[in-house]
């Protein structure tokens, strides 16, 4: 949500829930803060594309009947079809037969009714068609409505005032052409913005008065007693009374080449050659860039719809930003449907790829190197959902993803070894990493080898949650897979050993690999942290001593406890004398490691062998969380809450969930050109700006990516699943009791 639209407050109950209400298994004696899930304004876009390349779009408005019209070089257009994610089109408006024969040069709204300007008159179809004021400016192309059915019209230099109830007036700007005209309700006067001057017209005594001179003006708006004047290089403010410029020109903007400004409910909305932006009360901007929001980035006109939406005219069509009241739970319901409808491949949680410009029906479900990880993250989310709601649908979703997970193990010939993925045979050359694919005994199927540590930690996380929270066959099936995978690792000397008898590149938790890394290299810490959590989980659910023994051996004899307790702030590049592999691994912060850590914390903290260890693990988790805080990563904050800490940036987590775009298509997004954000020097974490941008201004990405990446996207060719990205943190938050059930949902 991007708002300053309603006056909703994000209420956090710091008093929180008492421990007696805490979910099963939660023994912490402290109470956690709770986000109260009341409706907020969620924005999303409905796009309407123009149908002819050479058609020019000018302005768009909505009347009180909720009809949208746009003026264009082909006359008045109206919207056809159009839903969220399914763009509509703009067609010629033939509603009123006589209108199609008129040369409409401009339109506006007055009393929420459409009013038109043609070569002869100001006219409308409202008020029983009574409004018809003739004028003498055949080339008139700008006008504004006054207070009482009166209008000021211009055709460049010439001006004419026409009124239903008063006598008219004709005149001209002394040496300028009108760019825009606006009416000032407070002073009952018109403002005329020229290319290089600002003039006021008083309809009462019919006088023109120039109050300011400058150059290259593009548009203006009235706000309080100020005129906001835009140029192709920022905007400035003028005192409406004195005509003097107030302060410096404003250039710390998302983009300074401004075409249009409009005041809407006390806020300034700017249309630029690189998207639109709204100035918030805190001085920062909401930025609407790219096809997530707009058919094109050259925004030429903005107006407020009578239903609360914002209409933005671009070169290629109309973007309607809709604000809908919903709770996080409502949003979850949309995402649940999105996942089932478009992202289930053989039970995997998959990405839809090869799409043509965001059209889902042209997409293909893709295999992934990490089908295991993305699916287990979705699966864990569904486990939490089932634990909270007892939803049969969630349970069935779990079963179906579990089918796929089990088959990862059974489809390859190596005991206890999970495949990365599988697919019907005959397509290896067209799948990701063809060299990693192997045939199975069944000529119909191929499987993907080289399984990595991030797959392994995903498996153990989801099975741990399932074993703990399920009260049915899935509990046993989860424990079987935990034992199968961990049995393989322990038996193979802490390696994942592939079909060729060799350890995979990343499936290595043996001290000879882990401790070969210098202490500051992240891999030493992550592998230690993960494997202890995995062994604890295996011991917790199987009771097999070998897992406990191995964990303590690693901690006590190989320094794994020290490894995993290594302070995050000291994770850094390997020194010059280190081995090449360590140097390669530590070139920069690894956000995929963050994901592995956090999904691994479930087993590390929850199934700790003893309280002493648990306290230490909590310390490590919070140390990690502290360094992640600038990312405002909803999933990491919520996962941190599982330690029972009261401080885990709940508000930022809820912000992440609210601000996450409904539209999960990989539209191109650019932010690096922005002049309203504070960039910081290149650094190890690749944090680009002081403050992280909201998710709906960034590219669509998973939790393994850098939240500070400014630019990116895949040109609308893919849609990501909300299963791992959004549903996991949401349902985990619900399960941990830090997000309430929906309240006052509509």
């Amino acid at each position: 949500m991007r708002k300053s639209f309603g006056n909703l407050l994000w209420i956090i109950f710091l008093a929180g829930i008492s421990c007696s209400e805490a979910p099963k298994g939660e023994t912490a004696k402290i109470s956690l803060p709770v986000y109260k899930d009341v409706p907020y304004l969620q924005d999303y876009s409905i796009k309407y594309d123009k149908q002819k390349d050479d058609l020019l779009l000018f302005e768009a408005f909505m009347d009180r009947n909720k009809v949208i019209q746009a003026s264009s070089s082909d006359g008045i257009l109206r919207t056809h079809d159009g839903q969220f994610l399914y763009p509509g089109t703009l067609l010629q408006d033939k509603t009123y037969r006589p209108m199609t024969d008129k040369n409409i040069a401009a339109m506006t709204t007055y009393q929420d009714q459409f009013v038109y300007l043609d070569d002869k008159a100001v006219l409308s179809n409202a008020w029983a068609g009574n409004l018809y004021l003739k004028h003498n400016l055949p080339k008139a192309n700008k006008f504004a409505a006054g207070k009482d059915f009166d209008f000021l019209i211009s055709e460049g230099q010439s001006l004419q005032y026409v009124s239903k109830n008063n006598s008219g007036w004709q005149g001209a700007l002394s040496k300028d052409k009108a760019v825009a005209i606006k009416f000032d309700q407070k002073t009952n006067s018109f403002w005329i913005l020229g290319e290089k001057s600002v003039t006021t017209f008083n309809p009462k005594d019919k006088t023109l008065k120039m109050i300011h001179e400058g150059r290259n003006f593009t548009s203006f708006a009235l706000l309080d007693n100020k005129l906001i004047v835009t140029t192709l290089d920022g905007y400035f403010e003028i005192d409406a009374t004195s005509g003097k410029q107030i302060g410096d020109k404003k250039i710390q903007l998302p983009w300074t080449e401004i075409n249009y400004v409009e005041e809407i409910d006390g806020h300034l909305w700017f249309g630029s050659t690189k998207g639109a932006f709204m100035l918030k009360n805190d001085g920062k901007f909401n930025y609407y860039y790219g096809k997530r929001w707009l058919p094109d980035n050259n925004v030429k006109h903005i107006s407020k719809g009578t239903d609360g939406s914002i209409l933005m005219v671009t070169d290629k069509g109309l973007g309607q930003i809709v604000f809908e009241k919903m709770t996080l739970f409502d949003k979850a319901q949309y995402y649940e449907k999105q996942v089932r409808d478009r992202h289930i491949r053989l039970g995997f949680n998959a990405t839809l790829v090869d799409m043509d410009n965001g059209n889902f029906d042209t997409g293909r479900l893709s295999d992934s190197d990490n089908d295991g990880l993305w699916t287990t993250m979705y699966l864990a989310g569904q486990v939490f959902r089932y634990a909270v709601t007892q939803s049969e649908e969630a349970l069935q979703n779990c079963r179906e993803s579990m089918d796929a997970m089990e088959r990862l193990f059974s489809i390859n010939p190596v005991p206890g070894f999970p495949s990365r993925s599988f697919e019907r045979s005959g397509y290896i050359e067209r799948l990701g990493d063809p060299e990693r694919w192997q045939h199975t005994d069944d000529p119909e199927w191929d499987w993907k080898s080289t399984t990595s540590s991030d797959e392994a930690i995903g498996h153990i996380f989801a099975y741990g949650a399932m074993a703990e929270l399920m009260d049915n066959d899935l509990k046993d099936r989860a424990i079987v897979l935990i034992d199968t995978l961990m049995g393989h690792i322990v038996q193979n000397d802490m390696y994942l050993v592939d079909f060729d008898g060799k350890p995979t590149t990343w499936g290595r938790w043996n001290p000879e690999y882990v401790n070969a890394r210098p202490k500051m290299v992240g891999d030493r810490k992550i592998n230690a942290s993960n494997i202890i959590g995995m062994l604890q989980t295996a011991y917790h659910f199987t009771g097999k001593e070998k897992y406990k023994k191995k964990a303590f051996d690693l901690m006590e004899n190989h320094g794994y406890l020290d490894n995993l307790m290594w302070p995050m702030k000291d994770v850094a590049m390997a020194p010059d004398d280190a081995d090449d592999w360590s140097k390669m691994l530590s070139e920069s912060w690894n956000h995929s490691d963050d994901e592995m850590y956090f999904v691994g914390y479930w087993g590390l903290y929850r199934y700790a062998f003893n309280d002493t260890l648990k306290t230490k693990f909590k310390e490590a988790i919070i140390d990690h969380w502290e360094i992640e805080r600038p990312e405002k990563e909803g999933a990491w904050n919520i996962m941190t809450a599982l330690t029972g800490t009261r401080d885990f940036d709940l508000e930022e987590a809820a912000w992440y969930l609210r601000e996450h775009p409904m539209d999960m298509v990989t539209w191109e997004v650019l932010n690096s050109h922005r002049k309203d954000i504070a960039f910081i020097a290149p650094n190890f974490r690749e944090q680009t700006t002081k403050e992280v941008l909201p998710p709906d201004e960034r590219r669509i990405q998973r939790h393994n990516a850098n939240m500070f990446t400014l630019d990116g996207g895949r040109n609308g060719t893919e849609e990501y699943s909300a299963g791992d990205i959004w549903l996991l943190p949401y349902w985990m938050g619900r399960y941990l009791g830090v997000i309430s059930e929906p309240m006052g949902s509509e």
């Binding site: 056809h80 079809d81 839903q83 409202a126 179906e400």
Partner: protein
């Protein structure tokens, strides 16, 4: 469900004359009217997906959906999936490319197993569910049919042989007859049902095939009653196996497919689809209000309570939303504003030559009437809900109706309509009356506007336009608080009544002649034989007009005029004449042409004017007479179940028994899709056609409005068939919103009781 209601039975109580207050108070004290409690009900509408021309040659065969909400259509050229699609923006069908490996498979059949899709191709039975593990070599050449049994066992048929499989492969192969068209699995009996044109056979694994029925013309079968019964479809109806009695009196007997969906039996036929209701009746879905084509090929349960019907032209998805009547009202409210407002008029029919976005609105001969009905609906809505939007809607319609008075050059003469920049100006040519009478459409004389010279207005205003003006202006005077607005309404009302009475009960047009229908003079009214409806109608209307004018202006001339008509010209007798006596007369050419059948437009004129007739009666005695007349009329209308007539009836007579249930039935069944699709019913075998009659009542029982041609209040609700192409949209402003908000205002429809309706519809 019975609520006592007080004080809101009439448009007016406070300002009525003294003796009437007493009469009304008595009525109110004794009235205990039923109230409909507006809880969410199941409202159906269709979203259609059309096959492209080239796709029609593919040969569509079957449709299916799964628990993920995926829908697939099997054709001889691969799988299609629906794309986009809303109620007013039909979707298309597009090749399914979600799973790339599927592209090379030659899918012969699919079946739903465990709410997932299982496919049959040349060599395998397989699925993308269960992690893709399900994959069985079936060992038959040219397989045709597939059905699942217990525990992932499947039966495959290739025209000669059956192959019974478990997950490992074929367990049994056995020869079977040719021509099996469908296979079902009956779980309760652990047996398969094999349907052939001439018999039904069962297969229990391990046992020989067994014939259980022999007959002819068998097309399909389905399980019902929780899988315990088998219903069999034929080219002549259907029957339950075991009972074996053919049921032929169905909407259309040539059954192509049967399916039990959400607990109801759905039948697909060569002429639409129908659903068996609990009361034994059928809901019939045919025509493009429901289906892209009438030849039904397959059916399946769809996502979210929908039923998918595959036809020769594409898919009709019958959606069910749980909504209250108020939800339905809000849907229509928005549509009227977007599609039917022309200069403030309620444009009763908008054209849609290029789809829903491009509605074209033209002047209508009765802009007065349709706008008045919409205007009053918005005033009721305003009074009930306080909605400023409703008030503004009403005000804008008033401005349009007021301008009808100002655009003519003569005080008291109002226009039928007006248009901007409309240059066609026709003269009233000699014989125009005859032409107008025969064509039923008014002579189009368009004249330059008195207020703006580039506007034209349409003359030849009629009696039904006058009814509209009175209906709207009276409601404004009764319901609006704003005195300036009321003053303007009163001025219109006084001018127009004065113009009529000053011209000896004629509306004199710009040419100095009476308009064809603007005639209430006794020489015209009493010139009709007594049994001709116009004599009764015009008497009823003009007395109501005069009473209304007197009530609000207090001018004696209106009262005097009314009494003159009552006493000297028999108008009371005219309006009291029993409806049963109204019929055909050949006495003169005009009477003959006006009385060849019941005039439903007259019904509309009667009822809208009953407020002025009954509620503003000069005396209680007259009021009793009027009520008797209204009751007599209403009795004749009851088979039509028209909510508007029923509600006006109780509002003007305070009758407790006014067919509330039928009225609600009318409102619920009124279609969400108000486009003029071609609708046909007279071929149905489940209705009894009546012989020709004066009222043109076609069937004993009225069919639900979901199944019949679009009904407007001046039409015959018993019409069974009508042509159409979906390129016109009628306004709900007069047809539905008026009775609904009137019901709310009268307190006989409650405010919505639960806001938890489940709305999927996009509007």
């Amino acid at each position: 469900m019975k609520y006592g209601i007080l004080g809101i039975l009439f448009l007016c109580i406070g300002s009525c004359s003294k003796h009437k207050v007493k009469a009304l108070a008595t009525t109110a004290d004794t009235s205990i009217r039923s109230v409909y409690i507006d809880t969410a009900y199941a409202q159906e509408y269709a979203v259609k997906y059309y096959l492209a021309e080239n796709q029609k040659t593919y040969g569509v065969r079957d449709i299916i959906s799964n628990r993920n909400g995926n829908i697939q259509i099997l054709t001889n050229k691969g799988l299609l999936v629906p794309q986009n699609g809303q109620l007013f923006y039909s979707g298309t069908l597009t090749p399914d490319i979600s799973y790339s490996p599927m592209a090379n498979k030659n899918i012969k059949a699919f079946t739903n197993y465990g709410d997932h899709i299982v496919y049959l191709d040349d060599t395998q039975v397989f699925s993308n569910a269960w992690a893709g593990k399900l994959q069985i070599e079936h060992g038959l050449k040219n397989p045709k049919l597939l059905v699942g049994g217990k525990d992932f066992h499947f039966l495959v048929y290739n025209g000669e042989q059956l192959s019974y499989l478990n997950q490992e492969g074929p367990l049994l192969k056995l020869a079977a007859e040719k021509g099996i068209s469908q296979m079902l699995y009956q779980e309760k009996e652990n047996r398969f049902i094999l349907v052939s044109p001439n018999k039904i056979t069962t297969f229990v694994p391990g046992k020989p095939l067994k014939e259980i029925y022999v007959g002819t013309g068998i097309s399909c079968a389905a399980l019902t009653n929780e899988g315990t019964k088998i219903v069999v479809g034929t080219s002549k109806g259907y029957f339950y196996l075991g009972v074996n009695k053919l049921i032929e009196n169905v909407p259309w007997p040539e059954i192509t497919t049967i399916s039990e969906i959400n607990g109801s039996l759905w039948f697909g036929t060569s002429w639409g689809a129908f659903k068996l209701l609990e009361n034994g009746n059928y809901s019939y879905y045919s025509g493009e209000r429901w289906l892209p084509g009438n030849n039904v090929v397959g059916m399946a349960k769809g996502p979210e309570r929908s039923v998918l019907i595959l036809t020769n032209n594409g898919v009709g998805s019958i959606q069910t939303d749980l909504m209250t009547l108020e939800d339905k009202a809000m849907f229509y409210e928005k549509q009227v504003r977007e599609k039917n407002i022309r200069y403030g008029f309620n444009c009763s029919v908008s054209k849609l030559p290029h789809g829903y976005a491009s509605a074209v609105m033209k002047d209508q001969p009765s802009d007065n009437l349709w706008t008045a009905m919409y205007l009053v609906s918005q005033l009721y809505r305003y009074k009930v809900t306080g909605s400023e939007e409703a008030k503004q809607n009403a005000y804008e319609s008033f401005e349009a109706m007021e301008r009808l008075h100002h655009i003519t050059p003569i005080k008291g003469l109002f226009a039928r309509s007006y248009e901007r920049d409309y240059i066609v100006i026709n003269e009233k040519k000699p014989g125009w009356q005859k032409k107008e009478l025969l064509s039923g459409s008014p002579a189009s004389q368009w004249l330059p506007g008195n207020d703006h010279s580039n506007w034209t207005w349409r003359s030849t205003v009629s009696s039904d336009q006058t009814v509209g003006q009175f209906f709207a202006l009276t409601a404004i005077l009764e319901l609006v608080e704003d005195q300036a607005w009321k003053d303007r309404a009163l001025e219109c009302l006084d001018n127009l009544m004065g113009y009529i009475i000053d011209n000896d009960y004629y509306i004199i047009d710009v040419d100095g002649e009476p308009t064809l229908w603007g005639k209430w003079n006794p020489s015209y009214v009493n010139g009709f034989p007594k049994n001709v409806g116009d004599r009764r109608l015009y008497s009823s209307n003009i007395i109501g007009f005069l009473q209304t004018a007197y009530k609000f202006t207090g001018k004696e001339k209106y009262k005097t005029g009314a009494y003159q008509l009552i006493k000297e010209h028999g108008y009371l007798e005219n309006l009291m004449r029993p409806i049963s006596q109204i019929g055909h007369s050949d006495d003169d050419a005009l009477s003959s042409s006006l009385s060849h059948e019941w005039n439903h437009s007259d019904d509309e004129m009667y009822f809208l004017a009953y407020f002025g007739l009954s509620n503003y009666a000069f005396t209680p005695e007259l009021q009793e007479d009027y009520k008797k007349s209204i009751r007599d009329h209403w009795q004749a209308e009851r088979p039509e179940k028209n909510a508007l007539w029923n509600f006006i009836y109780t509002a003007t007579t305070s009758s407790e028994d006014f067919d509330l249930d039928n009225s609600i039935w009318f409102l619920k069944n009124y279609p969400m899709d108000l486009r003029n699709w071609k609708m046909e019913n007279s071929h149905r075998k489940d209705i009894t056609l009546l012989s020709n009659n004066f009222r043109l009542q076609s069937t004993d029982e009225l069919l639900p409005l979901t199944e019949t041609p679009l009904y407007r209040h001046n039409g015959n609700i018993f019409d069974l068939d009508r042509d159409g192409n979906g390129q016109q949209l009628i306004s709900a402003g007069d047809t539905w919103l008026l009775p609904y908000w009137m019901g709310r205002y009268l307190g006989i429809i409650s405010a919505p009781q639960n806001k938890n309706g489940d709305l999927n519809i996009k509007y």
